[in-house]
């Protein structure tokens, strides 16, 4: 294990101050940082532990916005009644991370900072046009989550900056959302392909809005504009859904690795997209009343 100096601030203010002064790296739940440090895929000479900064562990509703603090754990997100009703895809995604032990420690902020293209929480957040809020000593800034995630393991975070929270707007009207993930085994499954979708229907059952986000099929989690275009303005029919599913291919660039092949990932992406859209549409149609 690498050698580092360790700080454990008691408050958000102190966390920001220490990061600014030391240029250190944040460790949250440790479920990515620790294995990656062991393999020298992540380096830190100063680690700043955020796990005592309780101000960052929250799930709140502010008007039509849901706000999730960076130190909220996957288990807390999976168990949250608010998330289950406002973004069931996100709740399902968080529940699918690893196992209980991982979910009790792993945090949303950590998942985002780690920026794995396989990160389970990201598709459901991108499908809701989530914004990420960053904080450093000089102040805060926000940007769309999609902009924040630049590449595998790469984000827009600058030295001294931390993730504060993530927000997304609740959907209204006849909306539905779903998330499906394909792993290599049923337990402790790392995503081979993961797809989240959200649709909003108008009273006539025509798709007013559609978001399709795919994980593990590109350097970052991506939205498929092509799939979304195939749906918006059309009746939510199986034909439209198939067209949308077929259209994701142009928007993804999967690789072959130890888990799977590029060809299979393309194949699975198309199928999961279709299934997730059908599930989301069914949910939305249930709200048409």
């Amino acid at each position: 294990m690498q050698e580092f100096d360790f700080f454990r601030p008691d408050s958000l203010g102190e966390l920001v101050k220490i990061l600014d002064e030391t240029g250190g790296q944040v460790v949250a739940g440790g479920t990515d940082v620790i294995p990656r440090m062991r393999r020298n895929l992540f380096s830190a000479s100063i680690l700043v532990d955020a796990s005592n900064v309780t101000e960052l562990g929250f799930i709140e509703e502010k008007d039509d916005q849901i706000v999730i603090g960076a130190m909220t754990t996957h288990q807390e997100i999976a168990d949250s009644a608010l998330i289950r009703s406002a973004n069931p895809a996100l709740a399902a995604a968080a529940a699918s991370v690893g196992c209980h032990q991982t979910r009790h420690r792993g945090t949303l902020g950590g998942n985002l900072a780690n920026a794995s293209p396989a990160a389970d929480t990201v598709p459901a957040l991108l499908a809701f046009d989530a914004q990420i809020w960053l904080l450093r000593k000089d102040g805060g800034r926000s940007m769309p989550l999609g902009e924040f995630l630049v590449g595998p393991g790469k984000t827009k975070l600058v030295p001294g900056e931390l993730i504060h929270s993530v927000t997304f707007s609740q959907l209204s009207g006849s909306w539905g959302t779903a998330y499906q993930k394909l792993g290599k085994r049923n337990g402790m499954a790392i995503s081979v392909v993961g797809v989240a979708a959200a649709v909003v229907l108008d009273p006539a059952g025509v798709v007013r809005d559609a978001r399709v986000a795919l994980g593990s099929v590109a350097p970052t989690v991506v939205r498929s504009a092509g799939a979304e275009k195939m749906l918006i303005g059309r009746e939510a029919s199986p034909r439209a859904v198939q067209d949308a599913a077929d259209a994701v291919i142009a928007d993804i660039s999967p690789i072959s690795d130890v888990r799977s092949t590029a060809e299979y990932r393309r194949h699975a992406a198309r199928i999961l997209t279709r299934r997730v859209l059908l599930q989301a549409i069914e949910q939305a149609q249930g709200r048409l009343a």
């Binding site: 294995p35 394909l182 290599k184 085994r185 049923n186 337990g187 799977s260």
Partner: protein, 749 residues
């Protein structure tokens, strides 16, 4: 049959209590003073010529006491289960990624590991050979003095050309199975202590402490009597701990610093450098009549034993013997090649060649049935070995083969039951089965004795001096139950002493599905001797003729029916300095009259475990994902000793077989490194094993076994993968001939 005392019951194993409280001491848990830590510097190339190993930076690193290389080894440089071709520390050649180059001994684990990373090996890379067929080609590097072929087996019976000529249909197929890790949870580790009197005490997590003793002694140039090996609690072995590497390295380290050293492998090192299940490439040609009768089998198997032989030649024997499965095939031409490559070494892993062959032959039988338009179960029924049949090895199967038709019937019933279950929406269901015939024992002409002692304590309890380690499977419990039964005493009164080479008898290696059988037989004989000793002592003390006394359930009974508790006799004998203890040695029987003598050493095996497994799968036809929903396992154990013990072996073995079928493969990645972590090497979790698991345990007594008992340790692994493969074919009509059966292989992309 009268009610047994303990046989067939589910007793609680005596070591369960320390295991559920965290008190059980595995090697890494043993608390000693002044322990130094070892870490092994390992090769990061697959193959190369070692020009130099520079330990200066490592030696200068904080906390480092000593760095050892091959030059520091006083005795034998190489060891090996069958062939001494494995250097304890690499000499002039690196033969696999992760091969040990040097040992660093330091005052802390962190210091040792850090320094191990500072050992600089100057290695001139040589292009690695990573495929057994290529390795046996012309114009390739020689990996060992003997070349790249370590063993070749050939069995020809009947007339193969005529057999194929008489066949109505001939099927030719190839199969391949990958490099697989036993993946026990406790990695290899050892703790060695140099004693002031010049002796060495070594704690091991090993299937063969007595072999470790000899290997350590040879490496250090010491007499074996000066090396004491003690068996710690073992966290799983499955064959992979029939390897003295860590014991030797730790002993070497302790000897070098004249102190106490503990060496614990990381999971990564376990993947790189310890015995795996052999990858095999098979070519099968099976000829049959249109009614399904097998006429001829020609098969060639290429086995990759990796950098060192380990138990490869012996695994090759069993691969060869199981190429024909449980069937009567009049004309065979079988060839097996065991080749060295630069892959991690392959050796003994549960099943020992049989899981590989069974995947091939049991898939082949279903494929043949499909070609003939026949029911695969009926095809099997037509061809299964019966009592009195002679196998192609010349061995005549005994009456326990009668469990084959019973297994087939139970499997058929299970398949019918499973087939009636409708699949979940969007899924396609299928059922499949496979038979299994797993040999017991080390094979003919391999000396195979196991000795145990049974001691009767003054309080009337029994102490089993078990000479072979319980690796977690419950051998001690089985020994205790058999001893209790034979001695007519309650199970609670029997305990087992920990294995220590300086005081335990030599029970031989815990392996080959023969421990219950061999140890059990020694318990039965030792019990008879003890009871005789009891009567002898009682006669002496009571001043009665021995013939007038009898023994029953912990009492000596006089002619008048008077009962004397054995405690009394033992205590009074102890006063006279007499200890009641008996020793028994059982030799695995290969009766000359019935054991063919013309085959190479280790061939043939003469005693078998039979069974079958039936599986139901649900396949997502679009994604190719497979869920095994139901599994029924049918296994004949001769006589159940421990009910939970047998069930545990079946449930665990089937899970291992399921992992083999669907998830497990030690691939070489694009970065040139092997898959070497549980992140990438996936073994089944609790969510991956079937939600329905049924055990059907048959008991056709094996005459030569203790109370009729046979083995169960390995037979539960081979049928699972072919049963699943057959079920997948039944579901979606896709036949996959290589393991693991991944979704990528099941869908057309």
């Amino acid at each position: 049959m009268s009610e047994s005392i303990t046989l067939g019951k589910s007793e609680v194993r005596k070591d369960a209590w320390e295991k559920v409280t965290g008190a059980a001491e595995y090697v890494a848990d043993i608390k000693l003073d002044d322990v130094l830590y070892g870490a092994v510097a390992r090769s990061s190339v697959h193959h190369g010529r070692i020009l130099s190993i520079d330990a200066t930076a490592a030696q200068a690193s904080p906390g480092v006491v000593r760095v050892l290389t091959a030059a520091d080894i006083p005795g034998e440089h190489c060891f090996g289960g069958l062939v001494p071709d494995q250097p304890a520390l690499a000499g002039d050649l690196v033969r696999h990624y992760g091969e040990p180059l040097a040992i660093v001994i330091a005052t802390s684990k962190a210091a040792a590991r850090k320094a191990a990373g500072l050992v600089k090996a100057d290695v001139e890379p040589i292009a690695p050979l990573l495929d057994p067929v290529t390795a046996l080609g012309t114009d390739v590097s020689k990996l060992h003095e003997v070349g790249n072929l370590i063993s070749r087996y050939e069995i020809k019976e009947g007339d193969i050309e005529e057999g194929f000529a008489e066949a109505d249909v001939i099927l030719e197929e190839t199969f391949s199975v990958p490099l697989v890790s036993p993946a026990y949870l406790e990695t290899e580790n050892s703790l060695a202590c140099w004693n002031a009197d010049g002796t060495l005490t070594v704690w091991v997590s090993s299937q063969h402490p007595f072999t470790d003793q000899l290997e350590i002694a040879a490496t250090l140039g010491m007499p074996p009597e000066k090396v004491q090996v003690k068996s710690a609690v073992i966290g799983g072995a499955f064959g992979g701990k029939e390897d003295a590497s860590l014991a030797i390295l730790t002993a070497l380290a302790a000897w070098a610093v004249k102190g106490t050293v503990r060496l614990v492998n990381t999971r990564q090192e376990s993947f790189w450098a310890h015995p795996k299940r052999h990858p095999v490439q098979f070519q099968f040609k099976l000829g049959a009549k249109k009614d399904g009768t097998f006429m001829a089998l020609k098969a060639v198997a290429h086995m990759d034993t990796g950098a060192f032989a380990s138990l490869g030649p012996a695994v090759g024997v069993i691969v060869t013997e199981t190429l024909g499965g449980s069937y009567r095939i009049p004309n065979v031409d079988l060839e097996t090649y065991v080749a060295y490559t630069n892959a991690p070494l392959a050796g003994a892993v549960r099943g020992f060649g049989s899981p590989q062959s069974h995947f091939a032959i049991e898939s082949m039988v279903d494929m043949l049935a499909a070609k003939l338009g026949l029911d695969p179960i009926e095809v099997r029924r037509k061809n299964i070995l019966c009592e009195g049949d002679k196998m192609f090895t010349g061995v005549v199967v005994n009456n326990t083969a009668n469990s084959l038709p019973v297994s087939l019937d139970r499997a058929q019933e299970a398949c019918r039951k499973f087939a009636a279950i409708p699949p979940l929406p969007g899924k396609v269901a299928g059922v499949g089965m496979a038979l299994v015939m797993q040999s017991m024992g080390l094979g003919a002409k391999v000396p195979d004795d196991s000795t145990q002692r049974l001691e009767w304590k003054p309080d009337g309890s029994l102490l089993v001096h078990l000479g072979a380690p319980d690796m977690g499977q419950g051998l001690a419990m089985a020994a205790e139950q058999i001893a209790a039964e034979a001695m007519e005493l309650p199970y609670e009164l029997v305990n087992t002493v920990g294995l220590d080479t300086s005081s335990s008898p030599n029970g031989n290696v815990s392996c080959a599905s023969r421990m219950t059988y061999m140890v059990g037989n020694t318990m039965v004989e030792a019990a008879q001797k003890l009871k005789a000793q009891m009567l002898e002592q009682a006669a002496r003390l009571l001043n009665r003729p021995q013939e007038s006394l009898s023994y029953s359930n912990g009492h000596v009974v006089t002619a008048e029916g008077e009962k004397i508790a054995v405690k009394e006799v033992i205590s009074r004998a102890a006063d006279d300095g007499i200890i009641l203890q008996s020793e028994s040695t059982f030799s695995f029987p290969y009766p000359e009259a019935t054991t063919p003598q013309h085959l190479p050493i280790g061939m043939p095996h003469v005693l078998f475990c039979f069974g079958a497994q039936a599986a139901r799968v649900e396949v997502d036809p679009e994604l190719g994902t497979v869920v095994v929903t139901h599994l029924t396992a049918i296994h004949d154990v001769g006589r159940v000793i421990s009910k939970v013990g047998v069930e545990g072996q079946i449930e665990g073995g089937a899970a291992m077989g399921l992992g083999y079928a669907l998830y497990e493969s030690m691939d070489l990645k694009e970065d040139g490194r092997w898959v070497d972590s549980f992140t990438e090497y996936l073994i089944p979790t609790s969510k991956d094993v079937p939600t329905y698991h049924e055990n059907i345990i048959l008991e056709i007594p094996e005459e030569s076994g203790p109370f009729g008992a046979k083995g169960i340790g390995e037979v539960t692994v081979p049928p699972t993968a072919p049963a699943i493969a057959n079920a997948i074919y039944n579901a979606i009509g896709v036949r996959v001939k290589s393991l693991p059966i991944t979704p990528e292989k099941l869908v057309k992309v």
